[in-house]
Symmetry: C2
Subunit: 415 residues, 2 copies
């Protein structure tokens, strides 16, 4: 089944490829060392995907998140989360100003969210929350988590509000389970907290005309008047404090906050800062989207161990057609969803991740083994997560109603 | 100053005009009797104004409110309010079906409202509430009164929500003071009751796209996304009960309810019925608008007696240039704002109103006397009204929170 026909050619090719690999390895190591030296490691094993993030940066008019700023976070935080070290957050707006505010004692606050749908959360959904929680811990700031339980209904992704209802509590628990500080975190659902948000939303909405909303979100005549109003509700939490809001999110959410940045000065508030994450790949290939409605692409947070195993064993890898080839040529971790998942969530240790990279690259690590280990890690993670969800159930009232911040927020008024 | 030159001609003209007047009076009386006979009295002294109500009926596609239907109300209610007797309500939608529902025991409910602005309510504002209260009493039904305290702000009639704030409570008290049943009436302000309305508003809003809203309300690119959403909030109260809603209002509010009639079936609810009132004239002329921002046009509910007197004494009448002419030719009550106000609010007795009409028409009643009497009646009314407001203050919690209906509504969910 091997592709090499004449034996000699094959041997020569092998030797050359081995020499090439050594040279490549040396070169990459230099890159790694150079980056590591700076504490920042947008790694040599950076993913090779279809998305041109530099182009996105240009299109959206955001700033590239480079080593300097990441290192500054590291200095202030006394360390760096691997998602930051590994360049998973690739762009930002005003992050420098956030750090200025922090250093000057003015502080800042974090705001993010999750729109419940008609299916459970999957692994990719928790990634920005993992980063948010880390930022809360390191900078000791308030976190606001919006649960816009009407959004998917207004966007016509589901047919009724009731369809979403069973997932609202489940999503909140999955988020709370990540360990946010119950006295500095407020989790609120729109249809409930609207009582305190509506007056502010009205003030926001009055400053946004249809032409602008149309240009920013692509609304047209078919768009419902509910969806047209919705941006106001996503903007309101940026007004919760008279400090700079920092929003860890995907770049698809940037339009809301670009709009916020236009109107914030007229409301006497700070423009939002953003820290923008890349896409977590689905299991079907590099930069495919994880989607709960296509179960083969994602691990759901409630997947049982055997389902996890089946999905991961079927995942798209950078492996070769045969074990022999893999041994000869090595794998291609740069396009491997399994390696990607290690790097995003399941290998905290840069050194071990690097070892895994080279083991794959040099044909020492076979896909089956690598996948089985990921299965174990995911199942261990999910088991622990479920235990955390159980504990979060008891604390839910703190995040939503009774914690220090939640109590304050149930009396909040935008002044 | 008289326009008659040769004395003889003048005398002849006078005799002819007196004969003419007698003939006219006889003719009109016949009309009155014929109408009165039927219990319905769109009177011979019907206002002569610029507004062509028949044309409005055609334009808006509503039904004319004729004697048959009014009499049917009278039969079921055991009497007729003068506003109905005198044709002040001139058009309707589905009023017959409302009465069918009532007779069949299915019942109906009343819904109306008042958008607070940055000035106090005036006399014209309370007219639809007077009719609504009467309907509640006679048919023993629930009344819902929406106070959309965000509407004027979204419509850019005021510059801040705070500008409206002092008038919200005052408006609610002015309405409550008219004597609504505290256990069958729920008065709610949008920015507060939004907590229970929002889920329903989202369901309503999803059914209305921008093209439709644009066609119905004339929205354009400049319209704020807040105003675009607002119609959903005016429609929600039509869903409060699974009965037919009857809305006493001006025809300018019809577009909201026409929209409601389009979507109600998809929400499993009744299409709204309407009973539409004419314009109460401002003091500056027939069918001018009363406006709190032009004090000379209106009596505000908080005008002191001397201001009332000054405004009424300056009001536009159907009087002649001189007392002599008035004695000779009689007044023109059909275009007189003072007579209009008697007919709309300050003379309940048809017979006495008719006497006043003829006293004016035949030159027996001078404008000064007629106005002074109106001043007295208005000041008596306002004094009583203020006493009622004082009493309403003690009952306010019943209308808004603690009355039987209010309590139910604070647990309302649209199912």
């Amino acid at each position: 089944m091997s592709g090499c026909a004449p034996k000699g050619a094959c041997a020569r090719a092998l030797v050359l490829s081995q020499i090439g690999r050594v040279i490549l390895k040396f070169f990459l190591l230099v890159v790694v060392v150079v980056f590591m030296e700076s504490g920042y490691s947008v790694t040599p094993w950076e993913a090779r995907g279809k998305i041109d993030y530099d182009k996105l940066i240009e299109e959206f008019g955001v700033e590239k998140l480079g080593p300097e700023l990441v290192e500054r976070i590291g200095r202030l935080a006394g360390g760096l989360h691997w998602l930051l070290r590994r360049g998973f957050f690739f762009a930002h707006r005003d992050l420098g100003l956030v750090l200025d505010d922090y250093e000057a004692g003015r502080g800042f606050f974090l705001y993010t969210g999750r729109a419940p749908s008609n299916s459970p959360m999957h692994i990719a959904h928790i990634v920005p929350f993992v980063a948010t929680r880390w930022l809360q811990e390191k900078f000791n700031v308030n976190v606001y988590i919006e649960i816009p339980d009407e959004e998917k209904f207004l966007a016509k992704k589901v047919e009724s509000l009731d369809e979403v209802e069973p997932y609202v509590r489940q999503d909140i628990l999955n988020i709370a389970a990540l360990g946010f500080d119950p006295d500095r975190t407020f989790i609120f659902r729109d249809t409930e907290y609207i009582s305190r948000m509506y007056r502010a939303a009205v003030r926001v909405a009055r400053l946004i005309n249809f032409s602008t909303a149309k240009a920013v979100f692509g609304f047209d005549g078919e768009t419902s008047i509910g969806l047209i109003f919705y941006p106001a509700l996503q903007i309101v939490p940026t007004l919760f404090e008279n400090k700079r809001p920092l929003i860890p999110c995907g770049i698809d959410q940037d339009p809301y906050f670009r709009l916020q940045r236009d109107i914030a000065p007229r409301l006497g508030r700070y423009k939002t800062a953003e820290i923008l994450s890349k896409l977590v790949w689905g299991l079907t290939g590099p930069e495919t989207k994880m989607s709960a409605s296509q179960p083969e692409t994602a691990i759901l947070l409630n997947d049982p161990p055997d389902v996890v195993k089946k999905k991961i064993m079927n995942a798209y890898t950078g492996g070769r057609a045969t074990i022999e080839e893999q041994r000869k040529l090595g794998g291609v971790p740069e396009v491997c969803t399994v390696f990607h998942w290690y790097s995003v969530l399941f290998e905290e240790d840069d050194k071990k991740l690097e070892e895994r990279y080279w083991a794959c690259k040099t044909g020492k690590l076979m896909c089956g083994e690598c996948k089985l280990e990921l299965v174990q890690r995911i199942n261990r993670f999910l088991e622990q997560h479920r235990a955390n969800v159980k504990r979060a159930e008891e604390k839910l009232h703190l995040y939503m109603y009774d914690g220090k911040l939640a109590q304050e927020m149930w009396n909040w008024e935008f002044r």
